[in-house]
């Protein structure tokens, strides 16, 4: 039978309860204690009920003390629970200890099976190999860029309306909108040209594959994070004709002799003249189908003769050097070659998909 409610009884009760909580040594015991101390049949609950029959002044005073007691006991229970959980984790981990330096390979039971590269990796490797065979060097650049590399040095000054096409995602780093997730692999052009000017190592013949980011709602044909490959040639006497020839040579080397490329006028601030390049639809081989919108062609990427303003930004003399650049989606190549119906399968990592390639 619990003692009647009074200030002294309450103080004594709380002190005793807190002691019991602190000395609980197992989480199961603590759970039982929690039920006893705060449950429906606990002393405190009984006292709460008793409050109603007291006169108002006393009820107020004791009610406040009672609430404080509730809080103190619950806090102590929670704190002890965290402590015990931590202790039990410590014990479990200690019992689990293993010295990795003494492990013996023979003990490993591993099934005999070959794994698989990701389809995008495979596509990227194949593209790289085609370009290496054509004399290009494969280089890379960072995924987080400053506004300068992603836009401004590419003749896309602040406020330029063409920036709107990029669906840029910004990072909460430094000045607002000054640090971006690169929206294309073109910043690698700028970095490579800056480095070549610094090291006096022009000409440049390179491709730069890598991950890029666009703020776009993902669907069957769009991913927020996808992969591009960028090409850059800076040399003497390079013209639009070299660009067209390179695109066409690459297309038949990668997609096959019966697939050809065509260039259409387009606009990119960093190239002039600029072109969109299409290839023969890989599904219908040019016979016109639904996938190519009954045109016989599929859009692959963009390209152009490097705009002299880009050369100026990186300090290359346009009277001595000229060049071209191109870029297209690696995932899109995989899509065209393997007819991936939904690009989201590329990032779902279902092993039934991964095992196919």
């Amino acid at each position: 039978m619990a003692p009647g409610l009074g200030e002294a009884e309450l103080t004594a009760y709380v002190e005793d309860a807190l002691n019991r909580v602190t000395s609980a040594s197992e989480r199961a015991a603590l759970g039982a204690l929690r039920a006893e101390l705060t449950g429906r049949r606990s002393v405190l609950t009984g006292w709460h009920r008793e409050l109603g029959s007291l006169d108002p002044d006393l009820r107020r005073a004791l009610g406040r003390l009672l609430n404080e007691a509730d809080r103190a006991i619950t806090q102590a229970l929670d704190a002890r629970d965290v402590e015990l959980a931590r202790e039990s984790r410590r014990e479990r981990l200690a019992a689990d200890r293993l010295c990795l330096d003494e492990l013996v390979d023979r003990a490993v039971d591993s099934p005999l099976a070959r794994g698989h590269r990701h389809l995008v990796t495979r596509t990227r490797d194949e593209l790289e190999d085609v370009f290496v065979a054509m004399g290009f060097e494969v280089v890379e650049g960072p995924e987080v860029e400053t506004d300068w590399y992603n836009f401004e040095a590419l003749n896309l000054p602040l406020g330029h309306p063409a920036r709107g096409m990029h669906d840029t995602m910004y990072l909460e780093v430094g000045t607002s909108e000054s640090v971006v997730l690169r929206t294309h692999t073109s910043p690698v052009q700028v970095r490579s040209m800056e480095a070549a000017v610094r090291d006096r190592s022009l000409p440049l013949h390179l491709v730069a594959p890598g991950r890029v980011y666009r703020r776009d709602t993902p669907d069957a044909s769009h991913l927020v994070e996808f992969n591009q490959i960028e090409g850059l040639v800076v040399d003497k006497g390079i013209t639009f004709a070299d660009l067209a020839g390179t695109i066409s040579a690459f297309t038949s080397a990668y997609f096959g002799e019966d697939i050809s490329a065509r260039l259409r006028p387009s606009y990119f601030p960093f190239t002039e003249p600029s072109a969109e390049f299409d290839i023969t639809c890989t599904i219908c081989r040019g016979a016109r189908c639904r996938t190519c919108g009954q045109t016989g062609w599929m859009e692959l990427g963009g390209c152009g003769v490097i705009d002299p303003a880009v050369f100026a930004a990186v300090g290359i003399d346009p009277s001595e050097w000229s060049g071209f650049a191109f870029g297209f989606g690696i995932d899109r190549c995989a899509f065209m070659r393997h007819q991936v119906a939904d690009l989201r399968a590329l990032v779902d990592n279902d092993v039934r998909f991964l095992r196919q390639f």
């Binding site: 330096d101 300068w148 995602m169 980011y213 259409r264």
Partner: protein
């Protein structure tokens, strides 16, 4: 931009074949993104009069309607209720195919035969109204008349063109026609409105215009009109607007929109009587000024967004009391909107500084038909023509309007069109082909360039509508592009360039490929997970405070950049577990990011406006991570996987050390090791198991007691041949003499590393040592607590002889002695 062919054909003769036209437009860089055939599907649909309406037994939503087309009657079941006996409605007989492709057939509903269908506006492709039938006006429709005649719908084709950002001149019907005429070499009929006849009298309070900020407003032409009657536009004009994708509003607004679609010049009509003092001022907005726009929203002006390059400036049009009545070039204000009671109009045809308009439109998230044109740069010389054309169009529906005086032509600062000299060699240097100068001149003149031949070179002046064309030297590329475009890209020569330098892979690419091959070789599948990750991933690892946050993530619940590949790979294991295929080994090679404020050394790069500052950026660390989730996987298989990798990469001196300092997030604290290069001390990564608590939280369906092996390596360190020396490239030819094994078990303090014991034994055996291996470890009875027993096998061999028993015994003794002295080992 939607362009009806009937409209386009009024400026240039079009080829017979639509395919050819589409191909030509594509080839001009005016990409056809869609082709819509309108006015088809109305064949056979006629006007009928409702004769009687009967209820259908047992049906309360449909009725039987008898209609008459003037000569005969038919019965149709109909679910609409917005008509009565005597109404005129459209009727599609059995056999008709409606614009949306619906074929009308005879149907029986509730035992009643329906011989066709009565149509709503939407079913006929003329508006969105689907509430009921399209009830026709008895003044314009008679029973039996084809519906296409009543609605004035001719067959037409609407092309949806994608106009590139550098072609503001082509963002109108006339501009498209100009390009086509240039390509086909045919005459182009420009819109030439007859100049408005100003009324002789001047109103007492005529409009006045003041450009306060001439740097942002280069031109403002104001035309004052009186006695305007606001009414509906002529049907042909309304129809063209509809085909072009704009909703007709009233004759004043429609004329303004029509001029924009036709000439590319946005205009704005103000109700003159609602402008204080009948005056207009164009000025920068003061910070915090408010403006209620036509769309009913109220915006706060000139508030700096803090974004790089944003000046926070807005340009506003104000009335004579200096109260803003419009956001210049973007949207007009509500206060001076044209309404049914409007009789006096002042029309704005202006030129605004493009970047300023782009900033305002972006900051206020108001992308309007006007702003997209102004921000690309309009042709300021078009303002007069646009104003006159507006008056000409409005007069058709408001014949008594009066033009008061000559338009006011206020000027600010206008850009000067590019002027440059171009010769055949300059074009050839860009295009790789020598074109005749007369051909170049012909092509450029056809699209409005001013070209003069001067001693074998061309003096070229760009039209004001081509702000994308720059002065020399950059402008040569712009002119070359125009020439190439009109000449046809396909008609230019191609050449495959070659150079003496060989191609090749960057070193890191080569190492990455080797790593991937090795992991694929042990049966792992390569995954690709997102770098932008959910908050839950950060909470799982408990590092949300240090994460890099995106300002504008696609999904609000995925706001972070990843700091580890672990949560992504665990997510992939989880999804596969849910699909009952969780016995997997998955690896990923990808970048993780560290916030510059917590990075040991922040990455610093060129950035800021103009690239003039050094900016601290997140560090990027490319990782190779492998999660082993097959039934018997654990730290053993992770270590074995690492050894395969180390062998594949020919790493010479790596060893597994206890983790120094705090355990990396997510790693099992007592079953992990750091992978270190013994010669340089470089840390390559970590190996072990995933923290069981984290694994259980990340993969709810994970089998009880299943361990997840884990390997996480830095690609940067792996690819660094200085940090991680490779094994010697010099081949060693194995001895042809027999080898002998010496097995030794030592009891050592736990702190003695197996690799150290190997080194001591190997050193003691000297050049006879072929390999040293640990084949067992033991703790328990007979071994003191804090020590372990390690069983070692040393394989001995001499290059030139079989080892004698004496040699073996003395080597064994040397090894025991060395281990005892230098490692305090006890032989068991």
């Amino acid at each position: 931009m939607r362009v009806p062919l009937s409209w386009l054909a009024s400026y240039v003769p079009l080829p017979e074949s639509l395919d050819e036209l589409v191909a030509t437009l594509d080839d001009l860089g005016l990409v056809v993104e869609g082709i819509e055939h309108v006015g088809v599907g109305l064949d056979g649909v006629v006007v009928v009069e409702v004769e009687r309406i009967d209820a259908i037994k047992g049906a309360d939503r449909i009725r039987l309607v008898t209609v008459r087309d003037g000569s005969s009657s038919v019965e149709v079941v109909c679910g609409a209720w917005n008509f009565e006996v005597g109404s005129l409605v459209p009727f599609a007989p059995v056999g008709a195919v409606l614009p949306d492709g619906m074929a009308i057939s005879r149907r029986t509903m509730r035992g009643v035969v329906s011989n066709g269908m009565l149509c709503s506006g939407r079913e006929l492709g003329v508006g969105d109204d689907h509430e009921g039938l399209l009830v026709l006006d008895a003044r314009t429709a008679t029973p039996g008349q084809p519906i296409a005649d009543v609605l004035g719908i001719d067959r037409d084709v609407v092309l949806d063109l994608a106009i590139e950002g550098n072609r503001p001149d082509a963002w109108c019907v006339e501009g498209v026609a100009r390009d086509l005429a240039a390509r086909y070499g045919v005459a182009f009929r420009a819109v030439e409105p007859s100049p408005a006849q100003p009324s002789a009298e001047r109103a007492s309070a005529s409009a006045a215009v003041e450009i306060v900020d001439p740097d942002l407003c280069g031109r403002f032409v104001a035309t004052e009109l009186r006695d305007v009657v606001v009414a509906a536009s002529p049907p042909w004009l309304a129809r063209r607007l509809e085909l072009a994708g704009m909703r007709p509003i009233n004759n004043v607004v429609d004329a303004s929109n029509y001029v924009m679609l036709e000439l590319g010049q946005p205009t704005h009509a103000y109700d003159l009587d609602r402008l204080a003092r009948h005056a207009i001022r164009v000025r920068r907005a003061a910070a915090g000024e408010q403006l209620e726009l036509l769309d009913g929203t109220t915006i706060e002006l000139a508030i700096d967004s803090g974004a790089i390059g944003d000046t926070g400036e807005d340009l506003v049009i104000c009335d004579g009391a200096d109260v803003p009545i419009g956001l210049a070039g973007v949207m007009g204000g509500a206060s001076s909107e044209i309404g049914p009671a409007t009789t006096s109009v002042v029309l704005e045809a202006a030129w605004f500084e493009p970047i300023g308009i782009a900033r305002s439109a972006k900051r206020h998230r108001l992308r309007t038909e006007a702003s997209v044109r102004f921000e690309r740069g309009c042709d300021y010389s078009n303002c007069d023509r646009a104003s006159a054309r507006f008056v000409e169009l409005l007069e058709m529906s408001s014949p008594d309007l009066r033009v008061i005086g000559k338009p006011i032509d206020a000027r600010g600062e206008l850009p000067r069109p590019a002027e440059l000299q171009v010769d055949a060699g300059a074009i050839e240097a860009v295009l790789g082909v020598r074109l005749g100068l007369d051909e170049v001149a012909r092509l450029l003149s056809a699209i409005g360039f001013h070209v003069t031949d001067r001693d074998g070179a061309l003096e070229v002046m760009a039209p004001p509508g081509r702000p994308d064309v720059r002065d020399a030297p950059f402008g040569v590329a712009d002119v070359a592009e125009e020439v190439a475009r009109l000449h046809g890209y396909a008609a230019l020569p191609t050449r495959v360039p070659s150079w003496p330098a060989p191609g090749g892979l960057a070193p890191v690419v080569r190492v990455r490929r080797a790593v991937r091959e090795a992991l694929v070789g042990i049966g792992a599948l390569e995954a690709w997970t997102a770098a932008i990750v959910p908050a839950a991933d950060a909470i799982l690892l408990g590092d949300e405070d240090e994460r890099i946050r995106l300002t504008n993530p696609v999904a609000a619940d995925a706001p972070f950049l990843r700091s580890s590949l672990l949560p992504g790979l665990l997510g992939a294991v989880r999804r596969n577990t849910e699909r009952r295929q969780g016995d997997v080994a998955l690896f990923e090679i990808g970048v993780v990011f560290t916030h510059p404020s917590v990075a040991s050394t922040a990455r610093v790069e060129r950035g800021g406006a103009g690239g003039g500052e050094l900016v601290k950026l997140p560090s990027e660390d490319e990782r190779v991570a492998l999660v082993l989730a097959r039934p018997h996987d654990d730290a053993h298989s992770a270590v074995a996987a690492w050894r395969v990798l180390a062998t594949a990469l020919r790493l010479a001196h790596t060893r597994l050390d206890p983790v120094a300092g705090t355990t990396p997030l997510g790693l099992h604290p007592t079953r992990c090791a750091a992978i270190v290069d013994a010669s340089t001390g470089a840390v390559i990564g970590h190996v072990g198991e995933v923290d069981p608590d984290i694994a259980a939280r990340a993969i709810p369906g994970l089998d009880d007691g299943r361990r997840l092996g884990w390997l996480d390596l830095s690609m940067g360190v792996l690819a660094d041949h200085d940090a991680i020396p490779r094994a010697s490239e010099i081949a060693s030819v194995p001895s042809r003499y027999p080898t002998s094994d010496v097995d030794l078990a030592f009891v050592l303090d736990e702190s003695v590393h197996v690799e150290d014991l190997k080194a001591v034994l190997g050193g003691a055996a000297g050049e006879l040592c072929e390999s040293v291996e640990c084949f067992d470890a033991y703790r328990g009875p007979g071994v003191p607590v804090g020590s372990r027993s390690l069983a070692m096998r040393v394989r001995l061999c001499a290059p030139d002889r079989t080892l004698s028993e004496e040699e073996l015994a003395s080597t064994r003794a040397k090894m025991i002695d060395a281990a005892t002295r230098s490692l305090s080992a006890t032989l068991r």
